[in-house]
Structure formats: structure tokens, C-alpha cells
């Protein structure tokens, strides 16, 4: 039976892992390759690396980092940050990435999702959405949460899936960094109405939060960063806990 996935996320800035609260106050959390290898060994099901400062000049550095990660890590990993064209993806896959994630660039030019899924297959394309709840609905935010749009998260997710996105990585900005739990309502809405896996992100603080997001919101995977980086929750203990709660988990 297919298991639920636990995915540590490593935000990368200038080659280091960093983590902020509510997308701000960024602090250092260690070497991404060491951390990634540790997580893989501890039973993480997948890894996500997001270059939060990716620019054209830095893309070469990113592909070198990806190649170092790929040499050392024997589980699947996704790379995101500043991807805007087929050629960017080509370079990352050639360096050993398994999937890539797109966010702002895809929203600004949705045809990018069609182009990437046609070229590399849907299974390779993760659509990342940063969303905030306000005025009664969940809206898409761009540029690492700095720019608001008037598009609802569900509408954009649905369009992207129709265009060929193979997975949705949904981050709630309201919940991110708060350790108060995942955004269950919007996660459930996406998971129940879209035919692709949904990765819930933002707000994990306790093991119970993972049970909630899997059982009540039907997330296919749950992503977290700081609680793993600062060893507040360790992956083996989390997996044992979920297993004992009757959730299908890989050991």
C-alpha cells in the first residue's frame, strides 16, 4: 500500500540551510548536504531543496549543489527556486534532481507548466503555492510571500493540474513557522478535488499535527523544516508515532 510521505524541506541561501518564521527573520540551520544525508538515513521519504535567493547568476551554483546532493542521497529529491524555463530544468535534472518545483514564474506565465510537463513528464513537475487566508478565502502570494494576488489558491492549483503539474506543494503563510498545525481546510479542499498528490506545508509543531493533516485533510505528504533542523521532532520517533496511530508509513 502506498504510504504517506514525510518530507524535510531545506531552504537554501548562499549554499547554507536557513529557516525563517512567517517567511521572515531568516537564521542559519546548517549544511544542506549533511542535513539531507542525515534525514535520508533517518527514514525521510523525500527531500525538498528550495533556493530562496535563486537568481540567474546563482543558478550555476545551484546546479553544483544539486550534483553534490545527488551523489550523496539515495532518496528522491525536489529542487526549486528561480526556475523559469525548460533549459533551467534540463540543467537541474542533468545534475541529478528527480523533480523540480515552480512557483512565481509559473503563475506569471502558466504555459511554463505545459512546457515543462510535456518535456519532462508530469511526475517531474511540482507546483508550489504560497497562500494566505484573508477576507474569507485563500489567496496566492508570489515572490516568497511578498506579493499578493487576487487569485484563489484552489483555482490556481486546479488550472496548474489541468496544464500538467504532477504534485502540489501547498504552503500556508498563516501557519508557516507558527508550530500551531497545518492549514487543514485548504489542504483538504485541494486533496479531495484534485487528482494529484498534495504536500501540506507550514505549521508543523507536534506529532499530532501530522496525524491531523493525514487523517483529517487527506494530505499525501507533509513537509516541515525547522522542527527537523532543530531536532524538536526526530523523523524515526515521528514515524513510530504515526505507525502506532494506524497511518501507513514506511519504516
Amino acid at each position: 500500500m502506498l504510504t504517506k510521505r514525510i518530507i524535510p524541506c531545506l531552504d537554501i541561501k548562499d549554499g547554507r540551510t536557513v529557516k525563517g518564521v512567517n517567511f521572515e527573520n531568516i537564521r542559519d540551520a546548517g549544511d544542506p548536504i549533511e542535513l539531507g544525508a542525515l534525514y535520508a538515513q533517518q527514514g525521510a521519504d523525500e527531500l525538498v531543496f528550495l533556493d530562496i535567493t535563486a537568481t540567474n547568476e546563482r543558478r550555476k551554483t545551484l546546479s553544483e549543489l544539486v550534483s553534490r546532493i545527488a551523489r550523496h542521497i539515495n532518496i528522491p529529491f525536489t529542487v526549486g527556486g528561480g526556475i523559469a524555463a525548460v533549459e533551467d530544468v534540463n540543467v537541474l535534472l542533468q545534475s541529478g534532481a528527480d523533480k523540480i518545483s515552480v512557483n512565481t514564474s509559473a503563475f506569471k506565465r502558466p504555459e511554463l507548466v505545459d512546457e515543462l510537463s510535456r518535456e519532462f513528464g508530469s511526475q517531474c513537475i511540482v507546483l508550489a503555492i504560497d497562500t494566505r487566508f484573508e477576507d474569507g478565502d485563500w489567496y496566492v502570494y508570489l515572490n516568497g510571500g511578498r506579493v499578493k494576488t487576487t487569485t484563489k489558491a484552489f483555482d490556481w492549483a486546479k488550472e496548474a493540474v489541468d496544464r500538467g503539474a504532477g504534485e502540489i506543494l501547498l504552503t500556508s503563510m498563516n501557519n508557516d513557522g507558527t508550530k500551531q498545525g497545518f492549514a487543514l481546510d485548504i489542504t483538504a479542499q485541494l486533496s479531495q478535488n484534485l487528482n494529484v498528490p498534495v504536500i501540506a506545508s507550514g505549521g508543523a509543531g507536534t506529532m499530532e499535527h501530522f496525524t491531523e493533516v493525514f487523517e483529517n485533510a487527506q494530505a499525501d505528504a507533509a513537509l516541515a523544516a525547522s522542527i527537523f533542523h532543530y531536532k524538536e521532532i526526530e523523523i524515526p520517533a515521528l514515524k513510530t508515532y504515526l505507525y502506532n496511530k494506524g497511518i501507513n508509513i514506511r519504516f
Binding site: 500500500m1 502506498l2 504510504t3 510521505r5 535520508a40 521519504d45 545527488a70 551523489r71 550523496h72 539515495n74 532518496i75 528522491p76 535534472l93 542533468q94 545534475s95 541529478g96 528527480d98 519532462f120 513528464g121 508530469s122 511526475q123 517531474c124 504532477g166 504534485e167 479531495q192 478535488n193 484534485l194 487528482n195 494529484v196 498528490p197 499525501d220 505528504a221 514506511r250 519504516f251
Partner: protein, 197 residues
């Protein structure tokens, strides 16, 4: 020992190469028929679409090269599906090593079954020397929308609403639907056992 990784238009070759490096083997990525024929082991990886991949292989004569191989060959993911007889994906006639039909997953109710299947699933009824160091019901990493039906050549079963072939074996041809190169230490054991055949 020489290990060839068949190079064609269906990605994922780098991960296989890195996985071999991790077990101390230098895999040569090549589409040169002589290089492939003279290798001790051949890996036929792949992620992508069946008909364009088959076309590419045929245009370069690689289809005949693969069928002529006598050394151990390991098909991975799309590589496994291309070793089957026919795929529903764009109605493609494949290499036919395994007399098996490749079908698309069907959700019994809308949105119940997410397609592609992405993630870790367990494999059971293991009957091949490549699983010598893999316990029954171990989890492997799968990413696919099409599956090989069960057949007498099935040497591992997985379930995603229905039971299907997680692995096939016939003579010197071995094939796995999942990605051993991405399936943590147990996946590595499979590659290791294959290379020691």
C-alpha cells in the same frame, strides 16, 4: 567489470549513475551498440513517454541491440515497460521480451486514485536473486501512471487498487517498476545484487 547504462531520450540517467558510484561501480552512459554489447551488465533506465522512447530506440537500432543481449539486463521504470509486449500509452508496440501488457491505472471512483502513483509502496512475493537482500514487504519508491499486468514472469507484486508486477524476470532480463536508485539502502541492495549476478 563493465556496466553500461543505455543513453536515450528518457531521462533519469544521472541518478542511476550516481547510485552505481555509491556502490563503487563506474557506469558508462552510452548509446554505442558495441559499448553496450561488450558490457558485463546493462542497465536500461527511463522516465518518460513510451512511444517517443520506442521511436528513438528504433531510429538508432537500439531495439535490436537490446534484444540481442545475453548478459544480465536490468530495466527500470519506463525501461521495464518498454521490455514488455505492448503499452496502452499511445498504443505502443514495445520490445516484447516479456509477454505482458502495460496498462494505465484507472480510478474506480473519481479522484480516489491519484495518478501517477508517486511514493513508497511495498513489494511482495519476491522471487528473484536480485531480491536476495530485500525482506518481503519492503518499501520501494514508485513514480508511474502505467503498470505491467501480472504474468508468469512476475517476480514481485505491488498493489495500487489492483495487484500488478513490481518486477519481472525472464532469462537474463530483469526489470523493476520502482526506482532502486532512489529507494534508500534496500534499493541499493537490489542494484548490488544485480551487479553481482
Amino acid at each position: 567489470m563493465k556496466t553500461a547504462i543505455i543513453k536515450y531520450n528518457a531521462g533519469n540517467i544521472r541518478s542511476v549513475q550516481f547510485a552505481l558510484e555509491r556502490i563503487g561501480v563506474n557506469g558508462i552512459v552510452t548509446d554505442d551498440p558495441e559499448e553496450i554489447r561488450s558490457a558485463d551488465k546493462v542497465i536500461f533506465p527511463g522516465v518518460g513517454e513510451a512511444s517517443t522512447a520506442m521511436q528513438y530506440l528504433q531510429q538508432r537500432g537500439l531495439d535490436k541491440v537490446i534484444l540481442s543481449l545475453k548478459q544480465p539486463v536490468l530495466g527500470i521504470c519506463l525501461g521495464m515497460q518498454l521490455l514488455c509486449k505492448h503499452s496502452e500509452e499511445n498504443d505502443t508496440n514495445c520490445l516484447g521480451v516479456f509477454d505482458v501488457e502495460v496498462k494505465r491505472f484507472q480510478s474506480p471512483v473519481a479522484n480516489l486514485l491519484k495518478i501517477p502513483q508517486i511514493g513508497w509502496n511495498n513489494i511482495a512475493n519476491l522471487h528473484s536473486t536480485i531480491f536476495e537482500h530485500v525482506p518481503e514487504n519492503s518499501y520501494m519508491y514508485f513514480v508511474h501512471s502505467y503498470y505491467a499486468a501480472l504474468s508468469p514472469d512476475t517476480v514481485a507484486i505491488a498493489n495500487y487498487v489492483i495487484n500488478y508486477s513490481a518486477a519481472l524476470q525472464k532469462g537474463n532480463f530483469y526489470a523493476v517498476q520502482f526506482h532502486p536508485e532512489k529507494s534508500a539502502d534496500l534499493g541499493q541492495n537490489i542494484l548490488d545484487s544485480f551487479l553481482k549476478l
